[in-house]
């Protein structure tokens, strides 16, 4: 295993070998969630987050996916201040980047 350390605002997308993840961040939680919808592998990172932050609506079939269920497949991470630590397999190839994610640009009432 290895710990990848990176500034949290430097990326919102992450790939660990052949799997991709996106960063879902609120005032009290930071999760690195899988981008693929469990239904037909739709791009959840292009989905919409409900106002209460509980579900993500997949853009393909509008399935409401519970964030707490997605978190069971999320990468183990610790955010302390502006630094994110992610634990990954030792042999994994890690890539991080930023891209426009609609999910980030809306106001989130559950942060209040």
């Amino acid at each position: 295993m290895k710990i990848v350390i990176h500034p949290v605002n430097a990326f919102n997308m992450l790939s660990v070998s052949d799997k991709t993840y996106f960063v879902n961040q609120t005032a009290y939680a930071t999760q690195i969630l899988p981008t693929t919808c469990p239904h037909r592998q739709g791009p959840l990172h292009f989905g919409k987050l409900s106002d209460d932050g509980v579900v993500i609506v997949c853009p393909w079939h509008e399935n409401k996916i519970q964030v707490c269920n997605l978190e069971k497949k999320a990468l183990p991470s610790v955010k302390t201040g502006d630094t994110l630590h992610v634990v990954t397999p030792d042999e994994a190839t890690i890539r991080m980047w930023r891209e426009y994610l609609p999910i980030e640009s809306r106001e989130r009432s559950h942060e209040a």
Partner: protein, 464 residues
Amino acid sequence: MQTDNFAAVLEENTLSLNSDMGHSFHNLQKYAQSRFFGQPKTFYCESPFYRPVRPQDIDICLLGNPLSDAELAHPNYLMAQRLLLNIYEQDLVFLPNAAKQFKMADLKEFYAPELVAQGRSVRPPLEKFAFDWLEKKVHVGGAWKLDAFTFYTNQVLSDIEGSDSTLYKKLTGSADPRRAAQFFLIQCAGDFLAEASAMGRNVLGNFGPHTSELFKIFIDEYGYGVHEKKHSTIFEQMMKQAGLSADIHYYWQFYTASSIALINYFHYVSANHGSFFRYIGALYYTEASLAFTTKAQSQAIRDIFNGEVSTRYFDEHTHIDVHHGRMALEKLIIPMVEQYGEAILPEILRGFEEFRVLQSVADDDLYAHIAWHDQLDQLKQEAAGLKARSVPDMFFTEPMGELSVTHCHPVDELFCVEEGQVEFIASPMQSIVLSAGDGIVIRAGMLHGSKVLSDQCKYSVSGV
């Protein structure tokens, strides 16, 4: 300090608030105005019941506007931590060491059900105020497996083991290492003189074999019923040998907010049993890391006091906390994960990380205070230059003997004596007399107090 006017303003504010907030604020005011938390005669607390909080500074924001991690120098943070420690410690038993300090009326009134209830009623919003920044700063996410947890925590602890001690450098590098070391011991005293009291909240009840495993750590802390072996007793001896009082909270006014936060965090996650796994994580971090950090603490005390002060307290932890760290992981965390599943790991890791952040903040605050103590003469000179070109924001006139309970400011402040004389105190080991024309620059977040020495003293303050 203008108590009547202050009470009127508070009353007006209270009436204008919605009823729930108004009720809480009323309880907060009543609690803080207890004679135990009000204006003292000296900077030192000879009875464990007297713990001044500056009730004249009680602010409605304490109930609803938490600070960010960049705002911990704000006096409201110190206020919240002082209030919370009083509230939590009304669950513990304290009696003064000196028989002459014991008064039955104090005992009855400090633990009076009405006063305790007032404190408890405002505990949740104060906890929110005191720790909201921490919950925003530390996020643990994802699906943690036991192997990832042990890998991550081992890495953190290994980094601590392999790093040079900043504490050693700061203490021995101070302009007055002995004074710096004494101030360090004072910051420890609030916790160590009542060591493991918060742990006591977790050994009652029944959570199966884990109860007994936690109890084994607890009995080490409490010396197996042999008073001389109790960790707090060993620390008392160290305080005395270092020329300090060993009475619990004698130095109450000189605890920084960040030092109090270390004590309060353990009470916070132990008094609220829904946070039990956070407690276990914090316990693991502190026990495992102390096995390493106490080596440098011991070395610093040995070097600074030339062997005149026993380091048994730190040496005991260097030894026993190797066991406690191992016991926390192997006898508590792993068996609990086997029983309750890996879903408990994020909470455990959260406690581990939260306490790590608090310790780091407290360390930095200690170093800042040591630097501030070293710079007092320089800051007096800096004030002389600033005074000529600044316009005071406010003037105060106080009578002889008026004592300003230690506090801090959110920004740098210029303090100037216009008439009379005042003792300006930065630590029990360091005070300076300021006469008319003298001033000092008070750095943001630095603890200080004052006492008027002349018939009256007029002074001014202004932002720098």
